[in-house]
Subunit: 198 residues, 2 copies
DNA sequence: ACTATACGGAACAGAGCTGTTCCGTTCCAT
DNA sequence: ATGGAACGGAACAGCTCTGTTCCGTATAGT
């Protein structure tokens, strides 16, 4: 006996959902914290009734989960000829996304308040961190397979050193003067001499 | 005509100052945000009258400035024979301080809410970031002087790649399994092959 | 002794956020 | 056309934090 959902009645305006997500991104990048941000402020900034927010999301956590989804774009594929090319391209992608001021602020706020939003933190790790790591691991391992990279490296550690500077920039909010192509090339240049097979 | 401060009357209990600072560190490392943390909560957790807090600090910002001072220890000197030794030692020091859970949480919260506390952020940069940078720059430059390090490197960029992984760990709060000596050695091993003069 | 300050405790008004409940209106499927 | 649901707007009690002001007591300098 399943209740077939009766879809009678007025439909929810999808623009309201989007407006709320946009409002959160705007407000967080303007300095608000996730716990400090109130539904009143979000509703006002989104130009939406506070009622409509409660109708959609039971808790602020649920709203933030949708915000996280909104800034989570899938990673492009890599088809470069060399591991070095793929690594540089991947790093450039990460830097590009770090330059997105609103997304960066959201992630920084999320990390700072991970304790207050465990589910949010879990999904951040699962949907954003893990795929990026796996992508980099794959690039490094393929580079080892082709003999381009020394086989004795610790891919997890090398990945950490590669993306560390980028994450640190995101964490400190100092993302000015970060040209994706230029910076990724410099990082690759610096690290590759250390991990390239002689 | 200088007013000699009349020091009559009961003296302030220095234990109250310390208790407030400790309370902030405890509460922030327990997940509180700087804007969200209230003087009520701080006073309760410190076992101190809310009155005493207002007596000492006009605003929360002022209190946080004292907290920042409390976690800011001067850097030790470097007297190792090689730049590589000094670099490893310096990195190990940074990692050790990153492992201090309470200080790390405080700095992470500070960065996430830099917009709300500009003066706090300024002093963080001036009293913590700048000295560390200068120390590393000095190590790298001396290494260049001795011929240990390639002269064509960008010390600022190399420093960023060196400390990036450590800062990223601090930013994400994942400081478990970070042995200072072991980790600093690995980072130095990885990077040095890229910057060492052949 | 006298004076000045710190202390804990309590109270207070003002402000903001929450979660819920009304209302009248607008839309949409059946 | 009718019923069901979303919408904006308003109100509400309950809670927390702020900043200030009292009070009585404790402590230190002159």
């Amino acid at each position: 006996m399943e209740m077939t959902k009766t879809l009678a009645g007025r439909r929810r305006d999808p623009r309201t959902d989007a407006a709320a997500v946009e409002a959160v991104l705007d407000l967080v990048s303007a300095g608000a914290t996730l716990t400090g941000l109130s539904l009143v402020t979000i509703a006002e900034h989104a130009g939406v009734s506070r009622n409509s927010l409660y109708r959609r999301w039971k808790t602020k956590d649920d709203l933030y989960l949708d915000v996280l989804d909104a800034i989570n774009k899938p990673l492009p594929d890599f088809d470069g000829p060399t591991a070095r090319d793929n690594l540089t391209t991947h790093l450039a992608t990460l830097i590009e996304r770090t330059l997105d001021q609103r997304a960066g602020c959201m992630l920084r706020a999320l990390l700072a308040e991970a304790g207050a939003f465990p589910e949010l933190h879990r999904r951040y790790f699962e949907q954003i961190v893990a795929p990026r790591r796996e992508a980099m691991y794959g690039i490094l391992r393929r580079g080892i397979g082709t003999g381009e990279i020394r086989p004795d490296i610790d891919v997890a550690f090398v990945n950490e050193v590669l993306v560390g500077p980028v994450l640190a920039r995101m964490g400190s909010g100092a993302t000015e003067g970060l040209d994706p192509k230029e910076t990724s090339r410099r990082i690759a240049d610096l690290i590759f001499s250390g991990i390239a097979a002689r």
